[in-house]
């Protein structure tokens, strides 16, 4: 087990290295650079000034030298300073992480709370009104774009009914009540969409499992139907559901750029989105790298939890 974890972590090194190269060259290939922005704002297009500035920012050096320097500092947590706020990029990004984690975790929990019971009941009561309702609703959830659903929610609950604030964020540790009000709409938007997928998945994997013989075995020794379904069958059916939910969580932790923008949610996704608009390249580079790291590490965690769910999985 420990050897497996060590090896998996070791595998992360080349993955992250490739990721950093991609991120660096990607931003490098974008048209324009810092100098354009700086020179542009100061209304001065003197080539001499450009040269001086390029030297100052190290842009006169070849790409691989700059990459090596960037990487060396990035490994130490130093991604340079934001061009807009002049504060360290690492600080800017770290500020966005709690809000993103908050939204992602609540959204996925909400999704699981809806999807697992609903998918299970839909499977048990197959081809009844409950099943059709669950299926049609989740089909709608998958089909409509997330941002559109979010905007509809804002229109209805904030502007029309006036129940909830349309956007914003409050620290749950400082003002839990206000924080909850801000959270409801974005979390519902995230949860509804993810639940649409997981409900269908839970339903179909429950249907699969319910046809297996161990279900009849459990019945044949006199266990109650509730126990047979919710303990013996669901535990098996949850294996794919948990895996997919973990991947969904990894994606959400990577920032729900669109939702965070709609709801003015101060997360990492919105930070990167704004950095792109403002051509704050150090922040973009660092942000994308951090997202990549989050996804890769989440995948590792999912693989490790897999063993808890499915004893047939051996770490070798």
């Amino acid at each position: 087990m420990l050897a497996y974890i060590i090896r998996r972590v070791a595998y992360l090194v080349p993955v992250l290295l490739v990721l950093s190269i991609v991120v660096f060259t990607f931003v490098e290939m974008l048209p324009g650079n810092i100098i354009d922005t700086l020179v542009g704002t100061e209304g001065n297009n003197d080539p001499e000034v450009r040269k001086i500035l390029e030297k100052e920012y190290g842009l006169d050096q070849p790409v691989y030298v700059r990459y090596a320097k960037w990487l060396t500092r990035a490994v130490q947590g130093d991604f340079g300073n934001s061009l807009v706020t002049r504060r360290p990029v690492a600080v800017e990004l770290m500020a966005g992480i709690p809000a993103t984690v908050y939204l992602a975790v609540v959204g996925i929990s909400l999704s699981m709370l809806i999807a697992v019971p609903l998918g299970t009941i839909a499977a048990v009561r197959r081809n009844t009104a409950i099943d059709y309702t669950a299926q049609v609703t989740s089909l709608i959830g998958i089909s409509i774009p997330e941002f559109w659903f979010a905007i509809l929610c804002v229109l209805f609950f904030s502007l029309y009914l006036g129940w909830l604030p349309s956007s914003g964020f409050a620290n749950p540790f400082v003002d839990p009540w206000a924080s909850l009000k801000f959270l409801i709409l974005p979390a519902a938007a995230v949860g509804f969409r993810q639940a649409a997928y997981t409900t269908r998945l839970t339903r179909s994997s429950m249907l699969d499992e319910m046809n297996k013989e161990y279900v009849d075995t459990a019945r044949s020794v006199g266990l109650s139907e509730g126990k047979v379904i919710f303990k013996y069958t669901l535990r098996n059916a949850m294996i794919p559901t948990i895996t997919i939910s973990g991947l969904q969580l990894a994606n959400l932790l990577g920032g729900t750029v669109v939702l965070e923008s709609i709801f003015a949610w101060p997360g990492i996704g919105r930070a990167i989105f704004e950095a792109i608009l403002q051509r704050d390249y150090p922040l973009v580079q660092a942000g994308v790298l951090v997202l990549g790291v989050i996804v890769v590490v989440m995948n590792l965690l999912i693989d490790l939890t897999y063993r808890l769910l499915n004893p047939r999985v051996k770490f070798a």
Partner: protein, 330 residues
């Protein structure tokens, strides 16, 4: 027939099971009647698809409805009809009075719970044992069915056992709450040939030791010869022959049974070649009219194509459903 005498544990009376499928209706079990005496081992023999397993599931009331339906018949267990019982009454029966050993232990045991979890859940539900008591009883059960060092295997998962050991676990689970009646549905079919005999001995030995009755379902007449007292031969949802094992082996009355007996390999060299039954099992969605076996029967007559033969007593306790015997009677 099949009015229950006190010594009868299980009596099926005209049991009919039908499935409503998208392609049409399928009658998997058609008018099956037989009785099992206390302490007896009854062998139900037939090819795959003949309705043996559906009969077993009907007795456990495990036929899913829909698509399954039991339009006719009674299943009398200890004198009362299982089909009239409420779900709660049925749960009280399962495990404590009737239990079942399934064909494929790998899929019949739950892959994500340990052996101890599964068996002790039955014990705690049915016998109200505490967690510790149940655990102790599981150890006893595992050693009873011959699993070496049961203390160490208690918290193993099914996939960590070999095929034969899995079937032992399955048997331990079925026997856990001291049922008086056991259904074994092809318990040796999925096992290595070398293990089959051991498991068969184990099951019959346990039945004898615990004074249980057994419904043994198999496609293998050789196994029947070894294990059973009475035999029912099923073909295409009907019982075609019913009688004491010795009678059936010595004087088979139905051409299908005769065919089955000819296709058993023998070690004493009496027959150099096996004689298979020609043709294949009829399509159960569109069964032939009359006797279901007539397209494969060498003795088929006109009446066989029109009328379904009824089970008739040919010798005391020996019944067969074949028109050949009408001719003799007429």
């Amino acid at each position: 027939m099949a009015e229950t005498v006190p010594n009868t544990v299980l009596a099926l009376d005209d049991l009919t099971v039908r499935f409503h499928l998208r392609r049409g209706d399928l009658t998997a079990v058609d008018g099956v009647s037989f009785a099992i005496e206390r302490g007896q081992t009854f062998g139900l023999v037939g090819e795959s698809g003949s309705g043996k397993s559906v009969t077993a599931k009907a007795i456990m009331r495990l036929i899913p409805d829909p698509p399954g339906e039991i339009p006719r018949g009674r299943i009398l267990f200890e004198g009362s009809n299982i089909l009239d019982k409420s779900n709660a009454e049925m749960r009280g029966l399962r495990g404590r009075h009737i239990a079942m050993v399934f064909q494929e232990p790998m899929s019949a045991l739950n892959p994500v719970f340990t052996v101890c979890d599964q068996i002790s859940d039955a014990l705690r539900t049915n016998l109200g044992l505490s967690k510790a008591e149940a655990r102790e009883r599981v150890v006893e059960l595992l050693s009873l069915v011959g699993i070496p060092s049961p203390h160490k295997r208690l918290d193993s998962y099914v996939h960590e056992f070999s095929g034969g050991m899995r079937q032992r676990v399955m048997l331990a689970m079925a026997l856990s709450c001291n049922p008086g009646f056991l259904i074994a549905d092809e318990p040796t079919t999925a096992l290595d040939v070398t293990i089959q005999a051991t498991i068969l001995e184990l099951i019959t030995g346990m039945i004898e030791r615990l004074g249980m009755s057994l419904l043994f379902i198999t496609h293998n007449l050789g196994v029947v010869a070894h294990a059973c007292d009475r035999v029912g031969v099923m073909y295409a949802s009907h019982i075609v022959e019913l009688g004491d094992k010795k009678e059936i082996f010595a004087h088979p009355q139905h051409p299908y049974t005769v065919g089955l007996l000819h296709s058993i390999p023998r070690l004493d060299g009496q027959a150099k070649y096996l004689t298979p039954i020609s043709g294949s099992v009829c399509n159960m969605m569109e069964p032939p009219a009359g006797c279901k076996f007539h397209p494969r029967c060498a003795h088929a007559m006109d009446v066989c194509r029109r009328e379904i033969p009824k089970l008739k007593e040919i010798a005391p306790g020996h019944l067969a459903a074949c028109h050949l015997h009408d001719r003799g009677a007429a």
